[in-house]
């Protein structure tokens, strides 16, 4: 069993390596970093995504309403002048933390709007945006808001 497991691992990584040069821009972060999507809190998710890299406060603006009336669709905007490679958004209200990871290539302008679901937890929720720049540095920006009516309970 052990050996079989090992072999399948080797097989997988070989496939990943041979596929890497072709898939220059198309990274499916759900496949490459599955731990990010199951992490239960923001710190764990960030660690799963970026490892132990130091995270600095950076030129990132996260915009949300102060109080979201409907947690089923909370508009969130992230904006940054950084030379971004990936842009990730996390929050601390829902069962898991990761919401979305954008890949930025040479055509990209970091100014994204998405609508996300946020659970109402009775206390302020923090939306964290983490950007990895093309030279490998990691920055983060935060925004805190209240949600009046949760959107995750269905």
């Amino acid at each position: 069993m052990q050996r079989r497991k090992f072999l399948s691992l080797v097989g997988l990584s070989a496939v990943a390596m041979s596929a890497a040069p072709v898939a220059l821009s198309a990274t499916d972060w759900r496949e490459t970093k599955p731990d990010v999507w199951t992490a239960k809190n923001v710190d764990d998710a960030i660690k799963a995504m970026y490892g132990d890299k130091k995270i600095a406060e950076g030129d990132i603006t996260v915009t949300t309403p102060d109080v979201a009336a409907n947690g089923g669709a909370v508009p969130v905007n992230v904006k940054s002048g950084l030379n971004a490679k990936t842009v990730a958004i996390f929050q601390d209200a829902n069962p898991e933390s990761a919401v979305i990871v954008f890949d930025v290539n040479k055509y990209g302008v970091v100014n994204y709007d998405v609508k996300m679901k946020l659970k109402s937890v009775g206390e302020p929720i923090t939306v964290t945006c983490v950007i990895e720049t093309t030279d490998g540095k990691v920055f983060s920006g935060k925004r805190t808001l209240d949600v009046a009516l949760g959107g995750c309970e269905g």
């Binding site: 198309a26 990274t27 499916d28 990871v101 890949d103 055509y107 990209g108 998405v114 609508k115 679901k117």
Partner: protein, 104 residues
């Protein structure tokens, strides 16, 4: 086959795109409540946009996007008026959705 409405607009050299994907976006919690099975959750896991065959925007997503999520994004350096922005998504069950819009 799902769909996306794509509305790109060119202004000052930057193309701004508004896209609306039609998708239920069920979370694990909702799925469990409705059917008792966490695994019935279904949501868009990857979405991308391309112009003239080149990817200009892409994202890996989780269950916490709103139902029928709206995305707004921008790109520059590619795409003229009349070019088509083509978008595709893939969901957790492997279904795909497509949509395109002409740059105005």
């Amino acid at each position: 086959m799902g769909s996306i409405k794509v509305k790109p607009k060119l202004k000052n050299g930057v193309v701004k795109v508004k896209a609306l994907a039609s998708h239920e976006m069920t979370t694990y919690d909702i799925a469990k409540k409705r059917t008792g099975n966490r695994d019935d959750a279904n949501f868009i896991t990857h979405i991308s946009a391309s112009v003239n065959g080149e990817v200009v925007w892409e994202a890996s997503t989780s269950q916490f996007l709103a139902k029928n999520p709206i995305f707004k994004f921008q790109f520059k350096g590619i795409g003229a008026k009349g070019d088509k922005v083509v978008m595709t998504w893939t969901d957790r069950k492997g279904k795909t959705g497509k949509g395109k819009g002409k740059i105005k």
